[in-house]
């Protein structure tokens, strides 16, 4: 775990589909960083999140000041995708040769794919594209792990654990626990801690 930011501001995009817990993931991660003494700005697009659209949170982390709630194009340092093709969409707009990307491999089909009008790319193709557009790319079966824990929604927490496992931000399990104990019912804390640990291990052991 590092105490310093690799860059100031450090720019994180968390992306997914409405209902995947994108907003909660960005809040939890940001609250951890605020507890570490950083200035954090989150920009969110969730007005249409209930209706199957893409959801995206831009997180700017700085030791010094407030930054724009929108990251400049090509300016992401870390992309966390709760859905694989959303990773590609975000990399196309905010990626650059130094970006790190974490991808939950569970696909959620857009309505055009369901109707047979569009084709969803194979996992292999997605992996190739994400790897080609990232300095580091990690693929995590976050939803599968969450289903094993008894609730697919925990996929977002597995991914936050994976962020901790990368070691690029000053966050750890202890800090995560202190943040979720403030905002969550006691019964929900334990599965969240397990999800975080699974995600952390999935990236850290590599």
């Amino acid at each position: 775990m590092t105490d310093m930011l690799l860059k100031d501001p450090y720019n994180i995009v968390i992306t997914g589909i409405g209902g995947q817990g994108n907003v909660l993931a960005s809040r939890l991660l940001s609250n951890m960083l605020v507890k570490r003494g950083f200035k954090v700005t989150i920009g969110e697009t969730f007005g249409m999140s209930q209706r199957g659209g893409s959801v995206m949170s831009h997180i700017r982390v700085s030791a010094k000041s407030v930054w724009s709630p929108q990251i400049p194009k090509g300016g992401a340092d870390l992309v966390v995708a709760l859905e694989p093709i959303e990773a590609i969409r975000v990399l196309a707009a905010y990626g650059n040769p130094a970006v790190r990307t974490l991808v939950n491999v569970r696909a959620i089909y857009p309505v055009g794919v369901i109707t047979g009008e569009d084709e969803y790319p194979s996992e292999e193709k997605i992996r190739e594209a994400v790897a080609a557009l990232s300095a580091q790319a990690e693929f995590i079966p976050a939803t599968d792990e969450a289903v094993r824990l008894g609730n697919p929604i925990l996929g977002n927490i597995v991914m936050i654990g994976a962020v901790a496992g990368l070691g690029v931000l000053p966050i750890d399990a202890e800090l995560f626990e202190s943040v979720i104990r403030e905002g969550m019912a006691a019964a929900r804390v334990e599965p969240n801690l397990r999800a975080f640990a699974i995600g952390r291990a999935a990236v850290a052991r590599k």
């Binding site: 954090v40 700005t41 249409m48 199957g52 196309a92 594209a129 557009l133």
Partner: protein, 647 residues
Amino acid sequence: MPLDRKQREGDEVLLMGNEAIARGALEAGIRVAVAYPGTPSSEIIETLSRFAETGKLYVEWSSNEKVALEVAAAGSFAGLRSLCVMKQNGVNVASDFLLHLGGSGTRAGLVLVSCDDPGALSSVNEGESRHFARLMEIPLLEPADFTEAKEIARWAFELSEAIHNVVMVRSVTRMSHASGNVVLGALPDRPVKAAFVCDGPVSDPDTGPVISTPVVAKHRLQQEKLRRAASLFEESPFNRYEGPESPELLIVTSSACLLYSREAVTILNAQNRVGILKLGTTFPLPQELIARHLRTADKILIVEEVLPFLEEQIKILVAERAGELGIKTFFGKNDSAIPMVGELNPDLVAAAVGRILKIDPPTVPAEYAEKVRELSAIAPKREQTFCPGCPHRASFWGIREALMRDGRNGFVCGDIGCYAMASLFPATGYHISRTMHSMGSATGLASGFGKFKPFGMEQPAIAVCGDSTFYHAAIPALINAVHQNSEMVFIVLDNGGTAMTGFQSHPGLDVNAMGEKVPLVDIAALCASMGVPVSTGDPFDLAGTRETLNRLMEEPGVKVLILKQACALAPEKKGKKKYKVSVDEALCRGDACGCNRICTRIFRCPGLLWNRKKKKAEVDEVICAGCGFCAKICPAGAIRCEEAAKP
């Protein structure tokens, strides 16, 4: 985590802009907080409802924005600091009262917060509410970050009391829905007793009747209040300059555009060439302050979203003081340096500054951009759609079948809510709404269409509206249609709450924003009291909806149909499936014989997948909400529903 009662003065917490505004109002000691929900404003009142307490803080979801402002004004007249919140087009609804309120003046602090939505991220308009401040002659404040959102919301009440008039605070989606660090201030705990003192002379603003007459005298007084606000604005800490003493280019900006401008200057590494004058008080302008800064630069770029509100005021200022300020070159909306439509971001501002200073903004390496072009094409687009199990999809399917059977080329007038999606994607089956305007407008339009038979118009008109929209604005139009003996079917898509904005209460429910049990106003009973036939149905009963609707379309006059089924995301439904739905592959005809994949291609429920290899439909059990409606549309009867096991 979210703003709550546990946090203390001095705590540094991450707050959403809307929470910061709510906190500022609490720190100002508000007693009344009222709104009609609308994205991106709803979280302000939602946050405050967690602080509601009888006799200490009254919180209300009103039936519409005009009523909300009236309730809040009553608070002010009774000596209670009051907050009223709405989205940008809500100000249009409240504007008639606002015009007269500005004339009458106020007592205890009264603040109107409008959250605009540049780029229409969750609106069907790009309404610009700042112009209302100018039109209604009331002061306007615009916060540019999260700390300031709290501070401006707090100070706005002091300003309102200093000038005895309502003060407007304007946020935008990227402020209201963004989050940042905020240090909490103290919450005052002064006891208060409400009373409306109104037995004094007309001329006394503190004891007389609160009216906008005599008009000319009151109008003159209102303008004096504005001049007083302008003089306070000259010294306001919400107006700040950052940059060199004599910048080559002076940016004048407000709101989230400050953050975009600052970042643009950083991107271009032009901190020594560009100065930024950030205004938190944007009407009336602090003219002396602005003139001082205009003197330092010849090139002026005005960075703002939607209409050229600052730009026009500053150009007038420069024209009036031409002798003193000299010739300026302006960049902004008028010369298209800044786009006139859509929201801004750091890149758009960097492009504008870059063009003026002849600096090329940095881009990703060409090789990377080439890879993006090549590889990103594999990502299929993601359209919005009705949720799995959404009763609106079923309602529109039933309406579509009834219209097809009716055969007179009838149409649906659409309205505002999730069901507005029925006016998108016109190529596919049940997306049959053919008009979409403001809340309640479907009913007014259908009231008109239903009178044009003497001109040869034979198409039947159907108006739809949601339950919250019914109370908000459909009732006057419905009364009109009944009284004018128009011919129309009026359908209420009743999903049991203000679903699109997060299930806020409305007058059809027996609980209010305080969590208290309250009387409800029944839609069917209210419609029946107008003397028109009222039918009710369940949208998931396809045959029933179709039969009822076809019968109603044959009858003269106004007919009401209430299609009642809770939203698929309603707390009582979430995660509970009525049916276990599956596809019998032996019966599914696929592409082969005539159904043309009606379930996936036309019905478009995210719970139904088209398996390209098998050429059969299948159910995605993770996504399917178990409503079972798709079983009714499959011509081959291949979709099976079994009662789901109770969890």
